[in-house]
Symmetry: C2
Subunit: 200 residues, 2 copies
């Protein structure tokens, strides 16, 4: 891949970030053309046929669209799929990307990204499956994180406290996490709960 003009697609809802990133990319001195897009499927419409070398994507945009994203990666194997992270995201989500750049990265390190793509080939990796919690277990987990006791959870779900304890045992086994704090972080990072809902 020895070409001097690089095509970069940016999928990011914040115009502030899109503007800033474009500027910094253009300032790296490499000749690049930047396409700003609003959704994943614009890769197949607006950008169809273009050879996109780097796609920079807000991970939120592939949330709940993992299959679509997988297909896209297969249909565009020569693209470097990059996640743009400015808050914490689920690790399994980030694992879908070939590379991660952070909003606080310096222009220099972003410049390096461009440099590398000119000199190397990247191979898309498929993320690992995590052991899924069942629906009921997730219900229990959500209430658990609200700080409810086993008994309160049972009352709320109309099941006995023993069932709740069973579910909790299974949750702990599946996740390997024993403490409530750890489970809270697990639930947040896996988007089972939104942290915003817990801020008063």
């Amino acid at each position: 891949m020895s070409k001097s003009l690089i095509n970069i697609a940016i999928l990011e809802p914040s115009q502030i970030i899109t503007e800033g990133l474009s500027n910094i990319l253009l300032k790296t001195g490499t000749y690049s053309k930047i396409f700003k897009i609003d959704s994943l499927n614009e890769f197949n419409t607006k950008l169809f046929g273009s050879q996109i070398d780097i796609a920079i994507i807000n991970p939120n945009q592939i949330q709940n669209k993992l299959k679509e994203f997988s297909l896209l990666k297969k249909s565009l194997p020569n693209t470097l799929w990059t996640g743009l992270v400015y808050t914490f995201f689920d690790q399994t989500l980030l694992a879908q990307f070939d590379k991660i750049i952070n909003i606080t990265d310096s222009p220099e390190s972003i410049g390096e990204l461009i440099h590398k793509i000119k000199n190397a080939d990247y191979h898309s990796v498929t993320g690992n499956e995590i052991e899924q919690l069942s629906e009921r277990e997730i219900e229990v987990l959500k209430l658990l994180i609200k700080g409810l006791s086993n008994k309160e959870i049972g009352d709320k779900l109309n099941i006995s406290i023993h069932t709740v304890i069973s579910h909790r045992k299974n949750i702990s086994q599946k996740t390997g996490i024993k403490s409530q704090a750890g489970l809270t972080i697990y639930a947040i990072s896996n988007k089972i709960v939104q942290i915003e809902d817990y801020l008063t």
Copy 2:
């Protein structure tokens, strides 16, 4: 306040965001001068004597510097203190600002901000004091969130379990949060712990 040139200070560690925001502010068509700064105290050094009309600040930058920020607001009462939010923050932290803009806000709504400042006076409000946790309490909280028991925390800090329990009682009283899950979320949203450290 009927002046055409507006001075804007931006305190934001991400260069991507600073770049993007500057661009959008300049594109609003108003004549504004933008100062990029790296810390709160540059208001008293680099910017000393300048009439800053709008300060746009990443709330992280005032975390643990609430007193300094309060004094600053008092010494610069004609400045509009604006928080730039791109992830969740503690609400009490956001209450310290006169105004909040979000990273996903459109250029138009940011332009409105500039427009308003030209036609109105803003009065700085002093935010409520957050009841601060003591150093020791924060140490205990951090270990608590790792899932350690009271006894383990005591062993780690070389204090008796009774002291740990005392600290926990005080933490609960100060924050009003009883459950470990709630405290975890409190600690994350107050940047006492980084959620990234807990992702395996």
